[in-house]
C-alpha cells in the first residue's frame, strides 16, 4: 500500500516538478511576459507525446537573440507545428505510435532543411528502424547542393541496403559532393559513388594538434 501511495504522490508531483524545471530554464532567459504562453505550448507538446526540448531550445534561442516575447511565442508555435508535421510524416510512412521523440526531431529537421515530405516518407519507410538522422541529413546535404531530392534519397537508401553503416551515410553524400567539386555533373557523381558502394573514401580525421586542444564547453555561470 505504502509503495502505491509513494508512487501516487510521485505522479502527482512529477507534472508540476517537470513544469517547474521548464520555467526554471526559461526564467531570466526570455521576457517574463512570454513564459506562461511558452510554458503552455510546451505542456501541449508533452501531452501529445511530442519532444519538448526543441521547443525549450527555440525559446532560449529567441531570448538570446533578443527577440520580443510575442515573436518568441510565435517561433515556439511554429516549432510545435513542425513537430506535429514530423509525427504525421512518420506515422504515414509506417512508424507505429508512440513515435520516438528523436525521430520526430530528425524529421522536423529534414523538413526544415527543404526535403519534400514525400521524400522524407520514402526514406523513413525504406529504413524501417531508427535512428534515421544520418540518412536524413545525408539526403538533405545533397538537396542543399541542388540535387534532385528523389535521386538523393535513392542513393542513400541504396547505400543502406548495400550495407553501408548508418554512421557513414554522411560520407556517402560527402563523396558525391567531392565528385561534383572535381567537375563531374550531378548525375555522374551519383552514378560514380553508387558504383563503388559499399566502398567509400575513408572519413576525414582531425589532426593531432586540433584534437589535443579539444575542450568541453565551460559550464554556465549562475545568473
Amino acid at each position: 500500500m505504502t509503495r502505491w501511495v509513494v508512487l501516487a504522490w510521485a505522479a502527482f508531483l512529477a507534472v508540476p516538478l517537470a513544469a517547474q524545471s521548464v520555467r526554471g530554464r526559461l526564467e531570466g532567459r526570455i521576457p517574463s511576459a512570454a513564459i506562461p504562453a511558452v510554458d503552455s505550448l510546451i505542456q501541449f507538446a508533452s501531452q501529445e507525446g511530442l519532444p519538448t526540448e526543441p521547443l525549450i531550445q527555440k525559446a532560449l534561442e529567441g531570448g538570446a537573440k533578443h527577440a520580443t516575447g510575442p515573436r518568441i511565442v510565435a517561433a515556439v508555435q511554429v516549432s510545435l507545428g513542425q513537430l506535429r508535421d514530423a509525427r504525421d510524416v512518420l506515422v504515414r510512412a509506417g512508424d507505429q505510435p508512440p513515435v520516438l521523440p528523436a525521430e520526430m526531431t530528425t524529421v522536423a529537421w529534414a523538413l526544415r532543411r527543404g526535403l519534400p515530405a514525400p521524400v522524407v516518407e520514402r526514406v523513413v519507410a525504406a529504413l524501417a528502424r531508427p535512428p534515421r538522422a544520418a540518412a536524413m541529413h545525408a539526403v538533405a546535404d545533397l538537396v542543399a547542393h541542388r540535387f534532385d531530392p528523389d535521386s538523393a534519397a535513392g542513393l542513400i537508401i541504396e547505400a543502406v541496403r548495400d550495407g553501408v553503416p548508418r554512421e557513414r551515410l554522411l560520407d556517402v553524400s560527402a563523396a558525391v559532393l567531392q565528385q561534383v567539386q572535381r567537375g563531374h555533373t550531378r548525375a555522374e557523381a551519383l552514378a560514380s559513388v553508387r558504383r563503388e558502394l559499399p566502398n567509400l573514401p575513408a572519413p576525414s580525421k582531425p589532426t593531432r594538434g586540433n584534437v589535443a586542444g579539444a575542450r568541453r564547453p565551460a559550464p554556465p555561470t549562475p545568473p
Binding site: P70, R71, V143, A144, H145, R146, D148, T185, R186
Partner: protein, 182 residues
C-alpha cells in the same frame, strides 16, 4: 532586359535546380532593379547596395533548393536581401549611414522643377536615414517596393501589426521633416 516573355518563377527555379545554371540569369534580370533600389534605400549607398544584392543573388542560387515556395520567389529574395542589409548595418551605427556623395552639381540645363525635386529627394533621403533600420526597412518595403503587409511579414518574419506600427511611425517622422522644411 525584358524578361516578360520568360517562364514564371516556379519554372525558372525548376530549371536551375535541374542543372540549367544559366536560367538563373532570368531571376537576376527580373528582380535586380527592385532589390537594388531597396538595398540602396536601406544602406544609403549605391555601391554598398550593389555588393549586398550581388551577394544575395549568389546566396539565393546556392540555397535555391531551400526555397519552399518557388512561386513566391520574390518574397524569398527580399528576405535574403533584408538580412544582408541588416548585417551590413549592424557593422556600422545608423548615424554613419552614408548618403551617396555630395549633392550633384547643378546643371544650368536643370529646370527649377528638377532642382526642387532634387532638394526634396535629399530631404526625404535624410529623413529615411534618420529612421531606425526596422522602420526604414518597413517603410521602404511598403511604399517603395510595394509589398503587401502579408508579403512584408513573410520577408521580415515580423507580425503584421508590428509592421504597420513601424510604417506608421516612419510616415510620421517623414511628415515632420517635410513640414519643418516646407
Amino acid at each position: 532586359m525584358d524578361v516578360r516573355g520568360a517562364p514564371p518563377d516556379a519554372e525558372v527555379v525548376a530549371l536551375v535546380l535541374g542543372g540549367d545554371t544559366e536560367a538563373f540569369g532570368i531571376v537576376i534580370r527580373r528582380y535586380e532593379a527592385g532589390l537594388l533600389r531597396f538595398a540602396t534605400r536601406m544602406l544609403g549607398s549605391r555601391d554598398a547596395a550593389a555588393d549586398a544584392v550581388a551577394e544575395s543573388f549568389v546566396r539565393a542560387y546556392r540555397h535555391l533548393a531551400s526555397c519552399r515556395e518557388p512561386a513566391r520567389l520574390r518574397t524569398w529574395l527580399y528576405r535574403i536581401v533584408t538580412n544582408r542589409c541588416k548585417s551590413h548595418l549592424v557593422r556600422r551605427s545608423v548615424a554613419d549611414v552614408p548618403l551617396d556623395d555630395a549633392p550633384p552639381v547643378a546643371d544650368p540645363a536643370d529646370t527649377e522643377a528638377d532642382l526642387e525635386r532634387a532638394d526634396q529627394l535629399l530631404l526625404v533621403e535624410r529623413a529615411l536615414a534618420d529612421l531606425s533600420p526596422d522602420k526604414r526597412e518597413a517603410f521602404v518595403l511598403k511604399h517603395v517596393e510595394g509589398l503587401s503587409y502579408e508579403e512584408m511579414a513573410a520577408v521580415t518574419g515580423e507580425r503584421i501589426p508590428t509592421l504597420k506600427m513601424r510604417v506608421h511611425r516612419a510616415r510620421e517622422a517623414l511628415l515632420k521633416v517635410l513640414e519643418d522644411h516646407a
